[in-house]
C-alpha cells in the first residue's frame, strides 16, 4: 500500500502579519521598530476605526491594540472586529479570528479583565518592553499554530455551519452532534476492529457496514482525515487481504480518532465559553 493520501503536504509558512493600532505617533513608531527588531513586518494605524478598516483589507494575524484611542477606542474596535468575524462565520463559514493583544497602562480603567471581556486575547503593559512583546507574540503564534493543527483534523467550515444552526433557548446542535459522535464513533471503530480480528465469513460484510457508519459520523463533523481513512479501509478490505492489509489502517484510524476527540473537546469548551 502507498502511504495514506489523507495527510496534506505542509504548506509553505506565510509571514506573520501584524497591525499596530496606537494614536500616539511616538508610541506607534517605537512599537513598529520593536517588531522590526523581532523580525516581523508590521503596519500602523492611529485609531480603532483605522484598525477595523485595515483588517477588512488585509487578513492580519495579530493586532497590537491600544485601549485608549480617539474616535473608536480599543474595546469598541475589538467588539466590532469580533462581531464581523461572527457574521462572516455565519454567512460564509469563514472562521478567521485575529489575535488581539491589548496595550495599556495597567490602571483601574484599563485592566486585564476588561480587555479579555472585550474579546482581546492577551494584554501587555505600556510602555511596551521588548521581552514582554516577544513573549506575547510567542503566545499568539502558538495559538495560531494550534488552531491550524485543529483545522486539519476538523474542517472549520463544517463546524461553522453547525454553529449557525443554533437557536436561542434550544440546546446547541453542535454540542449535541459532538456528544453523539463521542459516544458512537468509538463503538463503530470497535465493531470494525472485532470484525477484522475474527476474520470469518461474516467479517467482510461487518467491516463494510462499520466503516460506512464510522465514516458517516466523521462526515457529520467534518473529520475529514478520519472519513478518508474509512474509505481506504473499505477499499482495502474489498481488494486486498482483510487480515494483513487492514489492521495497519485500523491503527491509523484509532490514532486519528484520538486527535478528533481532542479537537472536538477543544471546540466544545470554546462553545461553552461563548455561552
Amino acid at each position: 500500500m502507498e502511504p495514506s493520501p489523507t495527510t496534506p503536504p505542509a504548506a509553505a509558512p506565510r509571514p506573520v502579519r501584524i497591525l499596530v493600532a496606537e494614536d500616539s505617533p511616538l508610541n506607534q513608531q517605537v512599537a513598529l521598530k520593536q517588531l522590526e527588531k523581532l523580525g516581523y513586518q508590521a503596519e500602523g494605524v492611529a485609531d480603532g476605526t483605522g484598525a477595523v478598516e485595515a483588517l477588512r483589507q488585509t487578513p492580519y494575524d495579530v493586532i497590537l491594540m491600544d485601549c485608549q484611542m480617539p474616535e473608536l477606542n480599543g474595546y469598541e474596535a475589538t467588539w466590532q472586529i469580533r462581531d464581523s468575524e461572527k457574521q462572516q462565520a455565519a454567512a460564509a463559514g469563514v472562521t478567521r479570528r485575529v489575535y488581539i493583544i491589548a496595550m495599556t497602562a495597567n490602571t483601574k480603567a484599563d485592566n486585564r479583565d476588561k480587555c479579555l471581556q472585550a474579546g482581546m486575547d492577551d494584554f501587555i503593559r505600556k510602555p511596551v518592553q521588548l521581552p514582554e512583546l516577544e513573549a506575547a507574540l510567542h503566545r499568539a503564534l502558538a495559538d495560531r499554530a494550534s488552531q491550524k493543527a485543529l483545522d486539519k483534523v476538523i474542517d472549520p467550515v463544517v463546524i461553522a455551519g453547525l454553529h449557525q444552526l443554533r437557536t436561542p433557548g434550544k440546546p446547541d446542535p453542535l454540542a449535541e452532534i459532538i456528544d453523539l459522535f463521542l459516544q458512537e464513533a468509538p463503538a463503530h471503530l470497535q465493531a470494525l476492529e472485532s470484525a477484522v480480528a475474527q476474520n470469518d465469513h461474516t467479517s467482510l460484510a461487518r467491516t463494510f457496514s462499520a466503516a460506512v457508519r464510522l465514516k458517516g459520523s466523521a462526515m457529520n463533523l467534518g473529520a475529514r482525515n478520519l472519513a478518508a481513512l474509512c474509505d481506504e479501509i473499505e477499499q482495502t478490505a474489498r481488494n486486498w487481504s482483510l487480515a494483513d492489509d487492514v489492521p495497519p489502517l485500523l491503527e491509523q484510524a484509532r490514532r486519528e480518532l484520538d486527535r478528533v476527540r481532542e479537537a472536538l473537546e477543544k471546540i466544545r469548551s470554546g462553545q461553552e465559553e461563548e455561552g
Binding site: S24, L26, N27, V30, K33, A105, K126
Partner: protein, 125 residues
C-alpha cells in the same frame, strides 16, 4: 530646572538600542511636534469645559512622554488625566499650565540631545 529630573537617561538608551542614533533623533522630533500640538488641544478643550477630551489627550501624552523619558511631563500629564477623570474641571487649566511649563523646560534639553546626535548622522553639507 534640573535636566536630570526631567529626562530619564534609561529611556533614551532604550530607544538608542532599539533603533540607533537616527531613530532617537526622529523620535525626539516626533515627540516635540506631537506634544506641542496636543497640549494646545488640551488647553482649548479645558477652556470649553470638555474634561473628557482633556483626559484623553493627557492619557496619550503621558505614555508618549514615558517612551521618550520626559518624566516630569509624564507625571504632570498623569495628574491632569486623574483630575479630568474626577471631573475637577476648574482645576484643569492650572494643571495644564504645569504640563506646558514642564514641556517648555524639557524641550531645549531634548533639542540639545538631538543636535548632539544628529551631526554624527548627517555628513556636513
Amino acid at each position: 530646572m534640573n535636566e536630570s529630573l526631567d529626562l530619564d537617561p534609561e529611556a533614551a538608551q532604550r530607544l538608542q538600542r532599539l533603533g540607533g542614533d537616527s531613530f532617537v533623533c526622529k523620535m525626539i522630533s516626533v515627540f516635540l511636534e506631537y506634544s506641542e500640538k496636543r497640549i494646545g488641544e488640551a488647553q482649548a478643550a479645558a477652556a470649553s469645559g470638555d474634561s473628557a477630551a482633556v483626559g484623553k489627550v493627557m492619557h496619550s501624552l503621558k505614555s508618549s512622554a514615558g517612551n521618550i523619558g520626559a518624566c516630569r511631563v509624564q507625571a504632570l500629564a498623569e495628574r491632569v488625566e486623574a483630575l479630568a477623570e474626577q471631573g475637577a474641571s476648574e482645576a484643569l487649566p492650572a494643571a495644564l499650565g504645569d504640563v506646558a511649563r514642564a514641556f517648555a523646560a524639557v524641550k531645549p534639553a531634548l533639542e540639545k540631545r538631538r543636535d548632539e546626535i544628529a551631526p554624527a548622522q548627517q555628513p556636513p553639507q
